[in-house]
């Protein structure tokens, strides 16, 4: 029988360590060179228990130190191992990006010049050909002003460029796939504050129309009194 481990906060790191060792063994056992053979390989390594769960058939899949994780966790590990497959992008994309990288790497590549907003506003060479113009952070990385692996710096730099987004109109489009007329209205409304004479006139006309409709409804037999 499997020994019980302490549960709760105190026992969790131990359980997590046992799970980690099991996953090390599980992931090392199955080679993932070809996704098409993965499920078959896994099928040969596992067997179904009476309750339908997967269990490792190979003793090597047991944790190296003899401690097993919970059977439910082992089952989840096996299912995830077969489900979370690695995908490969299209050949066309791979070669296009390879060409872009070669372009960036080539010493004599044609380059344009871009001013990077920085301390001194230095002019730095920026590769022109086929590089994504919509990635302003790349220019900062090339200028040595941004470390792309620094989470905080990248977050901050991304925040700097985001206010230029058309948030209002974008939000109008999002909020329910409303018509272009609606989008135009939102844009117009944003540029005309509520206190403007035109706004007051529009609200007065709208209120009048509602009152007229209420009068009309009152005259219909069975309508509101």
């Amino acid at each position: 029988m499997r020994p019980k481990r302490a549960s709760g906060e105190g026992g969790e790191p131990v359980d997590a360590l046992v799970t980690d060792q099991y996953l090390d063994t599980l992931l090392a056992q199955v080679e993932r060179r070809a996704a098409g053979t993965l499920a078959g390989t896994l099928a040969r390594m596992t067997t179904r228990t009476a309750d339908g769960a997967l269990a490792p058939e190979d003793a090597a899949l047991q944790s190296s130190e003899g401690a097993d994780p919970d059977p439910a966790l082992r089952h989840a590990g096996l299912v995830l191992r077969a489900t979370l497959l690695r995908a490969h992008p299209s050949f066309r994309f791979e070669e296009r990006l390879a060409a872009q990288l070669a372009d960036l790497a080539a010493p004599g590549a044609p380059r344009a010049f871009t001013v990077v907003a920085g301390r001194s506003g230095d002019v730095i060479p920026f590769p022109a050909a086929d590089l994504p113009a919509e990635d302003p952070l790349l220019a900062a990385v090339l200028a040595g002003e941004l470390d792309p692996s620094d989470e905080i710096a990248v977050h901050r730099a991304d925040g700097v460029r985001s206010p230029s987004r058309p948030l209002l109109v974008g939000g109008a489009i999002t909020s329910a796939a409303i018509s272009l007329v609606g989008v135009a209205w939102v844009a117009w409304r944003a540029s005309h504050p509520a206190g403007a004479p035109m706004g007051r006139a529009a609200r007065a006309a709208h209120a009048r129309r509602i009152a007229d409709l209420a009068d009309l409804a009152a005259g219909i037999p069975g309508g509101p009194a």
Partner: protein, 213 residues
């Protein structure tokens, strides 16, 4: 530059840098001649793309994120510092950790900007997983399609940090130490994240089995 150590909490001054990074020859070659970066690109393309695909659940967004990751990595390569330690083992690659830190930041920016734009259906994550698995005959083999769907549902619903840790472990087959480096957490914290994530998936699978009885 940000800390690149494998999730260690010790101060940078006490760390010993040793020559064991498995990508060191490729990195050095790329530093001498940036055209040689191609070897590193081909080696890690599918891993970065898969990570972005599972995180963004959109083929085109994943390609964009992959493109940005590698272009930024090449642009910043002169400033990459190797910080593997003996205890990280012979399979350690601080380059891979560094590359995935860049990928994580690119993906995080994309997810943030998506929150400002029309959100794609959360079910797209599930569809993405199953679309990838479509090439594999899961039915009749080890895992049924039903179980795969339940597992993907559980992965979709995980909190961000648990989902990221789980994807890096299973899709990119990273060690706990490497994931700690990518996420900027301790190894113990990453182990607990994965353990809890696996628990959530196990719970969903158990629930799914019970509902089919």
């Amino acid at each position: 530059m940000a800390r690149l150590g494998f999730g260690t909490t010790e101060p940078a001054s006490e760390r010993v840098v040793v020559a064991l990074d498995r990508d060191r020859p490729l990195v050095e070659a790329a530093r001498r001649d940036p055209a040689k970066f191609d070897a590193l690109y081909r080696k890690y393309l599918a891993q970065v793309y898969s990570y972005a695909l599972y995180e963004l659940a959109d083929h085109h967004a994943a390609e964009d994120a992959t493109e940005r990751t590698f272009l930024r990595a090449l642009a910043a390569l002169p400033r990459f510092r190797e910080l593997a330690r003996p205890e990280d083992g012979p399979e350690a690659s601080t380059f891979r950790v560094w590359l995935f830190r860049i990928a994580r930041n690119v993906v995080a920016n994309e997810r943030r900007s998506r929150r400002r734009r029309p959100a794609s259906s959360l079910d797209a994550v599930l569809d993405t997983g199953l679309a990838i698995a479509d090439g594999v005959d899961l039915e009749g083999d080890a895992v049924t399609r039903d179980e795969a769907a339940a597992a993907m549902r559980a992965v979709r619903d995980l909190p961000d940090d648990r989902r990221r840790a789980l994807l890096l472990r299973f899709v990119d087959e990273m060690s706990t130490a490497e994931i700690a480096g990518v996420l900027g957490r301790s190894e113990g914290a990453v182990r607990v994240l994965i353990h809890r994530a696996l628990g959530s998936v196990a719970h969903e699978l158990g629930h799914n089995r019970a509902s089919h009885r």
